[in-house]
Symmetry: C2
Subunit: 519 residues, 2 copies
């Protein structure tokens, strides 16, 4: 009879909830650190965060959790035998069990000594990376990178998964990703992106306009996105931080930040759109009034899917023609020197190779990622010695983008990821573009059925200020999946086809055409 | 030999530090809740806070802490016998041991059931108090107040201290305070304040000026205080919240808030001065690069001393003549209708009875506190039934201030303290005025010796924009004491005399004279 009441399941849930409470406290400290904390608070904050990290790691690898999970699983199997559960419940519970087993196994496989060494090595890596950047000297960072790679190899040995080393490290970001699948997705891009880049060179670019937008106007424009996209301000708030981010602090507590960058008057607007996309995804995850908030299926399935959501709102919506038409008068009123909405659109959609990933346009962005992906696989899988990284980086930029860094700060020292020992994260950015494009095609088909202009249903929907319909579709088809599926399964389920680069390339081609011919 | 290295002491310190880390995380959540959190985040935040409160209570009442303390004490006694410790170290260590024993005893005496009931009863009390206020009906709140009083009586029984019930409850705010000492301090005020109030009625008040200051200017003025008082922005930050407060999040992380209130253009400026005073005290506590940050002697000794510091900066400095002279042009430029700096000073220093404590001037403020103190002692010590509170409140306002509330919202429902079961807190506000005045006299003597104008050395010091000297004196004489002494001992040590109401009354008298005769 006990089993019928699902008591073991509830006990497991209570345990997970306490872990999630601690995790969300950690997130609150992180938020505060980036939005409010005076700089001298850093070292005590680090101690607070280590204490929580220790508590959370202990909870996630404890025998108590294993016992609770075993009991919940046994109870679930009893209930299954009684055939009294709904099919949806069965699927979700099975998936929760499977993911918890996988997560515990991962946590338990790791030696505490290694966890501590990695944490230390990460902060040392970050510190030396900052120093190397400021002194523009890769050699300052090189020994730390070598140590991080060696510790990551030790981690791979301890995890002992049936995958290559790089694949093992990529799992937390992209579950089930393999190098062969990645090549399958990226190879067409290796060929097509340089060709598109070549085409783009003949676009008559805007003259290099030098213009500014006062910070107050930038704030007004960012807030306008909240209105246009009907963001619920009772649970979503916006602040400023040195680097924009989005974070979830509770089932009804979502935060995001933007920033004002001198000389980049569009940055604040586009970053807000991007972070809102991340936040809207989190807000649509299958919490069902907290039910899954602390459970695996209530969480984001992968970094690529997360990125697909931020990119959708940034590139498909905020960078759309309809949006430029809507915002052109506001920009002009605030002093922007655009004589038409197309001018604004071109400023939002420039195609020009640059050395910096975060400043890259939609077309060249992929090339930045291809370079990083190849290099980190080579670093981890053994082909590339750390000392050869700068030269290799520079030669690939020359060959793929036709430009070359003047120094390592502009080159292989530009991103933070490797300094924190994160390998396997970079592909998610490009996979996000692919997923966004393919999901957008399905969304377009749906909107077309609902009577929106067949030529570009999303554009037509935005034109009618009905972005809420875009969100409804994502809320119905994409967000509620959570970790019920990995990203490949999600795309196949939602779009009916396996993920490929086709939609993305089609989308880029179309955007280039607009750049050529105007509205 | 182990004892020589102070290992047991260090182990105790490590334990206390972990508790302090958790406590400061709690403070961070509180800060975030009041400055950033979207409203829908409240219920999850409450769960985060309960989890931390539970962890902290367990740590503060644990056998492990008791054992660590016993070992540290034994080790300390061994070291004492060897006569190798410095006198200052001996005093501080003894005091730490004494306070820790006292704090643990208090925590351990309380039954967990009672702690939980009290927590629940407090949040119910707060909820019903809000409801009673919004419906302006004391009877909605009365049952909760009765329950809170009954639970507090149970707490007093469990604590079983050699004091009366009200005194026992007042200890966390004012250690060692007794009712007889309180009467000794407050009785002269009961007589003198109404007389001063009578005198003040013949001051020719400013015409009731209706003026506003735009929020931006209010912000600029508040920030000017940071500059004028050389506040270290690398460890102090300012934000906005519905009710101004000051809080410490780490040994180098101090936060404070202000707010803009419609129709009260001086409120933001004065609240900033007040909260800065609290923060400067916390910043001057005997941390000695973290050494005592987690130890009792590193903490504020009482709410009254804390309040004395905020009141000093608010009333002696920001409400000074010199400050009005300095800020008059800025206020006028921002649109304030003052034809002289004295006009501004009068706006800052109005003497007029009102019904609301937080809006009261320095003279009538004391009367508000006398009423609350008498009433809560009567409520706790048995003389006054809860149901008679509103009538009793109103009649005391009539007799002491000559005005009477039209309803309970303007009357006995105005303050939050009792709704959260806090009894014994109110006197600290008035004690703070007394302490501030008496410390200011000593400070004045010191400044006079340093050559400042004998008539009013503090005023003369501010006139020369040398507020840093005021801070230096507090940093030397008052702040480093921490919990090494209680407030009475602190005042006696610093000023050479036992605390009394004399200096405060002298100060008020002097301020009234300025109001009469002008600058």
């Amino acid at each position: 009879m006990l089993a019928l009441h699902g008591l073991a399941w509830k006990r497991l849930g209570a345990y997970l909830k306490e872990s999630q409470l601690l995790g969300s406290i950690q997130n609150t400290l992180y938020w505060d650190q980036n939005t409010s904390m005076p700089c001298a608070g850093a070292s005590w904050r680090a101690e607070q965060l280590s204490l929580l990290a220790k508590q959370i790691h202990e909870r996630q690898s404890s025998d108590q959790l294993q016992d609770l999970l075993n009991a919940a699983k046994a109870e679930f199997e009893q209930l299954l035998a009684l055939e009294e559960l709904q099919p949806k419940t069965i699927i979700e519970k099975k998936r929760n069990i499977q993911l918890l087993e996988q997560d515990i196994k991962r946590q338990k496989s790791l030696d505490t000594g290694l966890v501590v060494s990695l944490a230390k090595s990460k902060s040392k890596g970050y510190e030396l990376w900052q120093k190397a950047r400021s002194e523009n000297d890769f050699q300052i960072f090189a020994p730390a990178l070598k140590e991080l790679i060696s510790l990551r190899h030790e981690e791979v040995r301890q995890l002992c998964e049936p995958r290559t080393a790089w694949e093992t490290l990529a799992q937390p970001f992209e579950p089930d990703l393999t190098i062969s699948r990645l090549n399958n997705l990226f190879d067409p891009l290796r060929k097509a992106l340089p060709q598109l880049l070549d085409q783009s060179r003949s676009i008559k670019n805007n003259p290099t306009l030098s213009w500014e937008l006062d910070p107050l106007s930038q704030g007004v424009l960012a807030n306008q996105l909240f209105e246009d996209w009907s963001i619920d301000r009772s649970k979503t708030c916006l602040s400023q931080s040195p680097h924009p981010f989005s974070i979830t602090l509770g089932p009804c507590d979502f935060r995001l930040t933007n920033r004002v960058v001198d000389g980049q008057p569009l940055s604040c607007f586009l970053a807000t759109a991007h972070e809102l996309g991340h936040s809207l995804y989190e807000q649509g995850l299958p919490c069902e009034s907290h039910q899954w908030f602390a459970w695996p299926v209530g969480q984001a399935t992968s970094m690529a899917v997360h990125e697909s959501q931020s990119l959708f709102w940034e590139n498909r919506v905020a960078r759309s023609r309809a949006f430029s038409k809507r915002f052109w008068p506001i920009f002009v009123k605030a002093g922007a020197p655009f004589s038409s909405s197309f001018d604004l659109w071109r400023a939002m959609n420039r195609f020009k190779p640059c050395l910096n990933r975060v400043e890259a346009d939609e077309l060249t962005y992929g090339l930045h990622i291809l370079i990083r992906t190849d290099l980190e696989i080579a670093l981890i899988e053994g082909g590339l010695p750390v000392d050869d990284l700068p030269a290799e980086w520079n030669s690939r930029y020359k060959s793929l983008l036709g430009i070359q860094p003047n120094n390592d700060r502009e080159g292989c020292l530009q991103d933070v990821h490797w300094s924190e020992g994160q390998f396997g994260y970079f592909p998610s950015y490009l996979l996000g573009h692919l997923i966004s494009a393919q999901l957008s095609e399905s969304m377009s088909n749906h909107l077309q059925e609902d009577g929106f202009d067949a030529d570009d249903p999303i554009e037509s929907c935005i034109n009618k200020r009905q972005e809420s319909l875009l969100l409804s579709w994502l809320r119905k088809e994409v967000h509620p999946i959570g970790r019920n599926m990995n990203s490949d399964e999600l795309v196949e389920t939602v779009t009916g086809s396996s993920l490929s680069s086709e939609s993305f390339l089609k989308y880029l081609d179309r955007k280039l055409k607009i750049a050529f011919k105007g509205f």
